[in-house]
Each structure stands twice: as structure tokens, then as C-alpha cells.
């Protein structure tokens, strides 16, 4: 891994704040290294093995032909980690620009998001992402604007011989009262066994009374690594709603840190994963209730087959004096094989009175009585299993508000 940062040359290093920020990222990453089993926050996923691989950035982007998705969107195409203006269509009502365009301010000032990175030391992969800060999208939805279609970040990797590295850094800003849907879709074509690494940071800022619906689908290759971190700030009366579907990758982590900064801020962080083979799917959340009357809800459901592994680490922190706060968290997993494994670590830190906080975890197998009942009506064993799996995940998928996107997710999960 070390070669990646040595050979890197990025535009804009002469811009003082940018050069400094990348430097800070490099230093934080070098200090932390790639975490292994001894680092508490990473003890289940243990991504240390990534260190042995050498990765390269893709030189240029040649967009593949664009597959139609079953929902209408403003589509931003990334091919092998590079933005492709050709394959993209941008909304007019909002500011949507490649991140690099935010680097050049006449007075040489840093954009505000660059100053909101005090978490960098704690997140080694986010530090690595910062060291490579270059690719990504900046989205600003002006106050009161309700975007008519979702913004889709269509990130495609064309797997070939070399180990590609892609570092996307997206900034999503919703001003007061704005509402938008933001969809991230990670997929690939080509050699399923090639290694590549998607390293993503989404900095999300939701101002007062604004609402963001954030959907993510991670459908990576068998040997891929996918590590994403989304720090989210929510203002008074604002709402962050997310749903993440993890389908595959050798090593995958989707980590969300929500800071409910002002009274009335809410979040709903839901996820589903369905993994097989030797895949590892990690969902990590850190919900910080930093103001009174804030609400958070989390539901994560996983289906684990083969020798694969599901991980859920969920933290709810309720700060002092944050009364009348509600936090709930539930993780459930369905184990389909003897080799399947699930690791769950809930953590509650409550420093306030008059709060409602709950967490729960359950793991089980397919119900034999239910399987028998269906088979006794002529439904084949495999079909019956699929019906039960679908029903199991439906509880969380039904929380996706957009009907077309919900249908798309079901299609990806269960086929036609």
C-alpha cells in the first residue's frame, strides 16, 4: 500500500490549505496505519491484509456504455474513480460540480468543508482519502429547493489486471428547508476476481429543516475492498434518512457518523446486507445526540451464507443535558450456513436523564416449520428459502420511501 502515496502527484498541491490538508491526511494515515485485530474499532473486519497489496490510480476515464437504471435521476458517472462529464447530466436548480472546482477560491480561502475534518485522526481510511483529495462531487441544494429527481452517483469499476485504487470525496450540502435524494451505486464489470479498492468519504451537511434521503448500493466484485465513511451534521429540525445495501466485496465497511447538533434533528440509519462466499460486510454507526429532543432510529438486517461474515458495530451517544432524546437500534441476522458468522457490538453512552434508548440484536436460521409448510404446497426447497429471505429483508427495504428505488433494490437482491 505504501507505494500508492509515494508516487502520487495531484493538481493543486500549491494551494496552501489544500496542500496542508493532504499533508495532514498523509500524516494521520501514516501514524495510524491500516488497522488490524488489535484496533478496537476494526477488530472484526481486520483490514490489515490490504497493506500487502499495491494499488494504482487509473490514469484516465473511458466511460463504458451506460446501462439504464429503472429510475429517473441526475446521473453523475465515475469510471475507475474518475469523473466522466460525458456520461453525466446535472440539475439546474442546484450546484453540482466536480470537487476540484471548489479548490480555487480567488482569495485562496479553504472551502468550509475542509475545516470540518477534526475526525481525521480517528479514521485511518478517511485520512488516506484526504491524502488523495481530488476526485468527487460537490453538491449544494439551495434553501427551500426540493429536487425533483434523485442525484445518482454511478461509480463503475472496470476490473482489469492491475489493482485500481479510487478515492472519492463527496460533499453534500442541504441549505435550510431543502430536500433531496442522493443515491450512490458502486458496481463493476470485468474480471470478478481482481482486487480493487474503493475508498469513499461523504461529508454531509443538513441545515435546519432540510431532509436528505441517502441511498447506497454496494455491489462490488468478489475480491474488492470497499471502505466508506460518511460524517453527517444535522441542524435544527433537519432529517437524515439513509439506507445502505451491501451485496458483496471481500472487505467492505460502511460507516456512518451522525451528529444531531440541534434540537429536533433526526436520523434514520437503515441497512441490509446479503453476503456469500468469503465476503465480509461491516456496518458501523456512531450516532451522537448533541442536543435535546433529537431522535435516531437504526434497523440493520443481514443474510449471511457460505463462509461469509456480517459485522455490526453501533454506538449511540447521548450528551449531557440532551433530554427528551430517543435512540433505538436493532440488528438482526439470518445465518444460512454453518460457516456463516456474525459479530455484533452495540455501545450506549448516555449522559442525560429523561431519554428513551434501546438496542437489540438477534441471530437465527431459516424457520424449518415455515420451510416445510411451503414445500408441502409444492414450492421447491430453494424457492421457499428465497421467499423467506426476501420476506426477512423486506422489513428494512420497505423503509425506502422512493417506490422506484425500492423496486430497483429488490431487483438487485432477488432478481426479477
Amino acid at each position: 500500500m505504501s507505494a500508492l502515496l509515494q508516487n502520487i502527484s495531484l493538481i493543486g498541491d500549491e494551494i496552501p490549505w489544500l496542500g496542508k490538508l493532504r499533508q495532514k491526511g498523509r500524516e494521520a494515515f501514516a501514524a495510524a496505519g491500516i488497522p488490524g485485530a488489535k484496533t478496537e474499532a476494526w477488530k472484526y473486519l481486520k483490514p490489515r491484509e490490504l497493506d500487502a497489496d499495491d494499488y494504482v490510480f487509473s490514469v484516465s476515464a473511458t466511460p463504458k456504455s451506460v446501462d439504464a437504471l429503472p429510475f429517473d435521476s441526475y446521473r453523475l458517472r465515475f469510471e475507475n474513480g474518475r469523473f466522466c462529464p460525458e456520461g453525466s447530466n446535472l440539475p439546474l436548480q442546484a450546484e453540482v460540480v466536480p470537487l476540484v472546482e471548489t479548490f480555487m477560491d480567488k482569495e485562496g480561502r479553504a472551502p468550509f468543508y475542509a475545516e470540518q475534518t477534526d475526525w481525521i485522526e480517528k479514521y485511518p481510511f478517511a485520512a488516506l482519502n484526504m491524502a488523495c483529495l481530488n476526485e468527487g462531487i460537490f453538491i449544494r441544494i439551495p434553501g427551500g429547493c426540493r429536487l425533483d429527481k434523485p442525484i445518482l452517483l454511478d461509480c463503475h469499476i472496470c476490473c482489469g489486471g492491475e489493482n485500481l485504487f479510487s478515492a472519492l470525496h463527496n460533499v453534500v450540502v442541504l441549505e435550510g428547508g431543502a430536500e433531496a435524494e442522493f443515491v450512490e451505486y458502486y458496481h463493476y464489470t470485468g474480471e470478478v476476481k481482481s482486487r480493487y479498492f474503493n475508498n469513499i468519504v461523504n461529508q454531509i451537511f443538513i441545515a435546519e429543516n432540510a431532509v436528505l434521503h441517502h441511498i447506497k448500493v454496494q455491489d462490488e466484485a468478489f475480491k474488492a475492498a470497499h471502505i466508506a465513511f460518511s460524517p453527517v451534521c444535522v441542524g435544527a429540525g433537519g432529517r437524515y434518512e439513509s439506507f445502505c445495501l451491501q451485496l458483496g466485496a471481500d472487505i467492505a465497511r460502511n460507516e456512518t457518523k451522525v451528529m444531531l447538533n440541534r434540537a429536533g434533528a433526526e436520523c434514520e440509519v437503515n441497512a441490509a446486507y446479503k453476503v456469500d462466499g468469503w465476503a465480509r460486510a461491516d456496518t458501523t454507526t456512531d450516532i451522537e445526540h448533541l442536543a435535546p429532543c433529537t431522535i435516531s432510529r437504526q434497523l440493520v438486517k443481514g443474510v449471511i451464507g457460505g463462509q461469509s461474515k456480517g459485522i455490526f458495530q453501533g454506538k449511540i451517544h447521548i450528551a449531557k443535558d440532551c433530554i427528551q432524546t430517543e435512540g433505538s437500534q436493532l440488528h438482526k441476522a439470518l445465518l444460512l450456513s454453518d460457516g456463516a458468522e456474525v459479530d455484533v457490538k452495540p455501545e450506549l453512552e448516555i449522559f442525560a436523564d429523561d431519554v428513551k434508548c434501546s438496542h437489540g440484536a438477534a441471530a437465527g436460521e431459516l424457520d424449518q416449520e415455515q420451510l416445510f409448510y411451503m414445500r408441502s404446497r409444492g414450492i421447491g426447497q430453494e424457492e421457499a428459502r428465497q421467499i423467506l429471505i426476501e420476506a426477512y429483508l423486506d422489513e428494512v427495504i420497505s423503509k425506502v420511501g422512493n417506490e422506484q428505488i425500492r423496486a430497483w433494490i429488490k431487483l438487485l437482491l432477488h432478481g426479477e
Binding site: 404446497r377 409444492g378 423467506l388
Partner: protein, 252 residues
Amino acid sequence: MTTPLLEIEDLHARVCDKEIIKGFNLTINEGEVHAIMGPNGAGKSTLSNVLTGKPGYEVTSGSVRYKGRDLLKLSVEERAREGIFLCMQYPVEIPGVPTSTFLKHAVNAVRKHQNLPELDTMEFIKLLREEGKKLGIGNEMIKRPLNVGFSGGEKKRLETLQMSILKPQLSILDEADSGLDIDALKVVAEGVNALRDGRRSLLVITHYQRLLNYIVPDFVHVFADGHIVRSGDKNLALELEEKGYAGFVKES
């Protein structure tokens, strides 16, 4: 002579290392209705589970031939597709699976096996409406998750609906009458009788003679301690109702 539909010979079966079926014999021909009555715990449900192939039920000796083939070699779903249907004493609840979705999968699995084209959604809904109406099962019930929160009577009516749609060759009714009020009993019995076309056969397990007033059997068998202790015609049911099982069951 034609082959019997079902031929059970000296069947022994056990659950959890406990022998429950002990030397059971029964032959059912096409079009016949057989009733089985017997005390609690005699093994009636166990017999129906063995016939449908429920995992955990182990046949230790004896044979079961269905349409001349070795039934015990077939998987649960193969038996169902070949026309064996068990109307369960305790239908299973399946949260998250709408009743209609489940029924559509079942109908098409059976049709596929019979080399019939699968029903599309419109055709299926039409069939469901027609058959549901006869059994007082409305749209609302069919949208709900399978059996979840259904009353005892509703569950039994849904079992009957499945029977009407799947049109099995051999229906085994395990206490189809339990939990039914008098009107529902008639509705269910009508649904079952509608299947009697002189070719389909029924095996009716019940504790009450009353059901047999509606579904009139050709034969009645007394089942105790894992096998049949006496057989007769429908009058045997009346005799049982009057005298109880005392005269049939050996003192143990």
C-alpha cells in the same frame, strides 16, 4: 383391477426415537373418502406428517405406495406436486410473505410440474377471487402476511382455499373442523365436497362425528396406539360418538 391411489402396508415410524406409528395398514382407492378417528396422542397427526414427508419423521419399516410408486422416496415438494395435500391442524404463520404471493408460488409450482403454463398475475387474481368468494375469503385477508394474526377459523378456511386452488388428488384433512363455528364448518365442508368428483380421494381426521354429516365418508377407521383397531362404514362414527373409545382401546 386398477392400482389403489394409496397403499400403506405395515408402516412403522418414529419421532425423536419414539415409535408412534406401529403397524399401520390402509388402502385408499380413487374417489374414496376415509375418516380416521382416535384419541388424543394416538398418532394421527404423525401419520399425516409421515405421508407428506415432514423432516424429523423416520419410517423404520413398512411401505407406502402412491399411484403405484414408492411415496417415501419422494421429497416433500414432489409429493405435493404429485397431488398430496395436507390441510394442517396448525397452519404455520409466515410474517413478511403476503398470502397471495405465497399462493401464486404454490399454484405455479404445481402447474409447472403438470406441464401447464404458469398463471400470470391477472389470471391468478381472477382464480383467487372466484375461489375465495365461495369460502368467504376477501381481498383484505389475501393481502395480509400468510396466516399471521388469522383466527383459528380463518386459518382453516385458508387451508381449504389452497385445496380448492391446487386441486389435489389426495387431501389429508387433519382436524379441519377444529376451531370452526357452525357456519364456517358448513363453508369448509362445501369447499371440500366440491373436490369430490369420483376420482379425488380424501383422508379425513377428526374427533367429531358432526363433520362427517357434511363430508360423508365411505369408510371410518378407529386409530389407537399407532394403528387401526377397527374399520367400518359411517355408522361406526355414530357408535363412537355414543360409546367413546373405551371399547376399542386396549387397557395399557
